[in-house]
Symmetry: D2
Subunit: 324 residues, 4 copies
């Protein structure tokens, strides 16, 4: 399972936790403008916006988990099992496979407005990348600097939701999460007044009691609420270090420590990596479960007018700063 | 507010989050064996076990927030407002001021068994360090490699609790937290069976639903439950990197992002630092709110037979590993 | 706000709490087979199944809150503010006003199967009963002896949901409540095992801890969960007295005591009446907030072949059985 | 398990739910002033205040579950397993057995002030009523018209707590429940403001959302909170019918429907009876699980100057008022 987030200070940030029980050998991958994007059904896009993000590169194709293009438009796919439904190809529609969806949108769109135009004729088709790499059941968050949307392909068809929260987790469908937030409207970051009883004196155990009722588990609805609360009440300086640092602190509130979420007998989901992309500057920051130091890759320090993918393997060993 | 934790893999670890709204200029401070520990009422201890921990050094006196001695005995003071009560000096008792308590115990004791002997005649006296540095209302967790206890000085007298959980947060008194854990006995790391109804089919939103009911707020009772659940179910390898990494992941589950806990109008408590000491090897690891990279200071790389404090200022600037 | 429930032992029962801040002068009202049902847009139904239920009779028209017909088909309208949307009349559709909906369905249908046929061409039109009696924003539960459905007219159109739970409360739309139940799948009526920690001994405060997590407030989603849990786990004998008694005990778990739910400054919603109809025998039982004794009205003791309404005013004064 | 409650309007009321999985043949029992109260260790009290309450009469001895004396002082014993500890007789102490405790206090005391004097020298001794009737592990609430206390005999000795809430349930010890209330200080009877986020519009599902977080299960800590909330926010008229009716409504919020609390495989605890005594007028009202009509027995309609117990068997069959 996963959590994705948008966040703004002076600049704009987009990122996510990837929560799985194993890594797929992903790397920070930059796709320059002239890498030829070919698609199974829709026509190729040989020249396009450059992308940076986390991807598994297979047969020289970047299977992006999340990415940002040079205009700042960002997108992440998150697990959506049982609900995700992909269709057969339909004549007259843009038949895009889910594994092509991120390149197809980010290659061509500079904004949510652009993306909505492309989505209007989209049909997400059930074409596997290969026999060995079947489709994952995903839904997507797409965000630019000012707004975000959620795209869900379900049995009833393609659903596009405005996302005023700027958070995405997993099941159930997105409209449930929005309605569910209502149940937490009373939470706050301050000590609540005693409204339980005008006749009883009730003490205060500690700061933080305004959050009583915030769910602490790792289920998808609970992470949605927790991420929304953290993001909505975040206070941070607007320097790059403070912004990026704060983004990772927000992601930690919904991260998985190993052991707390059993996927199968003895197999545990945990937060494989956390990412934070400065979408204005094209800098992709990440930490991994094994390495808490922030690592950064800068899109604009690469030749974006090339045609070859650049992939930086993850720095996945704890980088401890030993002082003495 | 704060959370302290013990944890064992192959080695033994002790650490804590310090949650405040400002830093006191603390540093990782090593007290060698012959630094002369003097006390206001009890007699001095000129030769003692060496200590490493986080301290503010004032007038060449290490005011430890948390520390570990060369035998591995560890101790941390955590906020305990309203409940902490310190007494006038009593003839025949060991009258120790709270600010002297960590040096007095860790200087002389190699184990909880040792500590319990000293505690038997202890009276925590209300003597301020100075006019400018009044006493903080604290309670303490003390731990060796096999067990831990909690010490609370309250109006009724000195209370010493065995701590089978190896966690300490803040108010209310410790016995409340132990009783309160009972309310969470049904939580688990696996997907719960549908016991709600034998007549209804109920789905599963996602992994993690076994934790439904785990409180997600930052109040002291909720952090106690969350830390206990995280620690109890932690799964990690037993290498030093994995153990230390996991310890910090556990602490993150009870850490404060800035903005989520308002102390005063516009002033927020957040997790100033997180520490993890390998108590067997005397290595003190920490991260700060501003720097997510782990920094390490090693007691045994200093001359422990000296008489002078060594203090390493915190590396408090984000150390980003820029790849390109 | 309100809660409606189906329940079966040897016989079948249907009932509800009506939660409001004032009474409308309702009475237990029997509509015999030849009372002429006229409608604003659809054609009249002069001969039909007889009905018993709670109604306000205005201008000799029974405005039913809930009712059961002689075949056992039952129906209740519950508050659905903000979401309920009623349409303009549409040519070719059965244009029924919400206030006519219960007579129109219960007059003509013997079962859910029958009702679904009528619903297929239904358009709920926004025609007030009168200027003084505008439409209430309602949704409906319809049940026969074996199944129940929910009917919601929202801006997107008429929604018909199968209701495997046999419970209806209020907002949000019904599909939310069904999804939301999933969050409570771990609740049970037995003492849960300690799955929190294999290392900690955790006690048991008391029986009833299997229900920890059951919401105790009066909001609509919480009442849905609580009623579903109570109904799903109910154990009772199957005599009429035991069945009816149990039904009222189930309703009490979601009833409102006066003072606990403020509608407006100093105005409180409370459970005006609770009803339980034996739908097989046509006996309508009720209690009121002021009178905890069960009162019964029997449809089959009236002349059902008549054309005149019979209305029994509520016995609304506490009937205390004084023994000495 | 059980819940006891005090409540005041113009008059003063005291009562309780008795929650068990079987009835003991209890009856409403009046003890007149000259019924000779004999005790195993302390000296007899041949002349005393008259009592009314629920008791099992064995060998002409009234084993009261709860009772009120003619001065209005009231007392109820509630289950306190594992924690209750009764001692051997101690020279110089008033050695009273728990089964004698209610007669001993209510026979001699007119107020809490009186009771506290007697309690000062009390030792609750472990003497069974008979081989067949061993002691139950109980704690007690005692209340007069203005205050209430809780008496707990635990291994550490006799504990007497002021009870500002006027509620008692079961485990853990009473001080836990008082501290625990603090976690619910934010609950209210009104719709909470959206303090979750200043950036998000969050709707309102329904009235009652101020109570979100109120626990809905039947465990003892949850019933304590729910009863305290209901009592603290109760709004009712002050006539006898309204006061008594409201008292029963408050008790319903913590009552058990059959099936929801499994004591043993297939054996369920449920609310055997609910009582409400007008302590000013000596009228004992009750309902039973099987009979929702209120039954009343009036102490002052008996000859209180006699020496014989009067016991009214419970009216335990549903008294349905059939209208037609």
């Amino acid at each position: 399972m996963c959590t994705s987030l948008t966040y703004s200070t002076k600049d704009h940030y987009f990122g996510r936790n990837l929560d799985l029980n194993l890594s797929y050998g992903e790397s920070v991958t930059i796709t320059p403008r002239h890498f030829p994007f070919e698609f199974r059904k829709v026509k190729a896009v040989p020249h396009h916006y450059a992308l940076i993000g986390m991807a598994v590169v297979v047969d020289n194709y970047p299977l992006y988990f999340d990415a940002t293009n040079e205009k700042g438009l960002s997108m992440a796919g998150l697990n959506f099992p049982d609900n995700a439904y992909f269709f057969s190809a339909v004549e007259g529609k843009d038949n895009v496979s889910p594994f092509e969806f991120i390149p197809w949108i980010l290659g061509q769109c500079a904004s949510i407005t652009d993306a909505k135009k492309l989505l209007a004729n989209l049909n997400l088709v059930n074409i596997n990348f290969s026999e060995d790499l079947p489709l994952s059941p995903l839904h997507w968050i797409i965000a630019d600097q000012t707004q975000s949307i959620v795209v869900e392909s379900v049995a009833e068809g393609l659903q596009i939701y405005d996302n005023p929260v700027g958070v995405l987790t997993n099941n159930p469908p997105f409209d449930y999460h929005l309605l569910n937030l209502t149940n937490y409207r009373h939470l706050s970051t301050t000590t609540p007044a005693n409204t339980f009883s005008s006749q009883l004196e009730l003490g205060i155990h500690s700061l933080g009691m305004g959050g009583l009722g915030l769910p602490g588990d790792l289920s998808s609805p609970s992470r949605f609420v927790r991420a929304a609360f953290a993001k909505s009440n975040s206070v941070a300086g607007d320097s790059e270090a403070e912004s990026v640092g704060q983004f990772f602190h927000l992601l930690k509130s919904v991260a998985y420590a190993k052991g707390l979420c059993e996927a199968d007998e003895g197999k545990f989901e945990y937060t494989i990596y956390s990412s934070c992309c400065n979408v204005d500057k094209g800098i992709y920051y990440y930490t991994t479960y094994e390495n808490s130091q922030i690592t950064a890759v800068q899109m604009n320090n690469e030749d974006l007018d090339g045609a070859q993918l650049t992939a930086y393997p993850l720095v996945n060993k704890e980088q401890i700063n030993i002082i003495n």
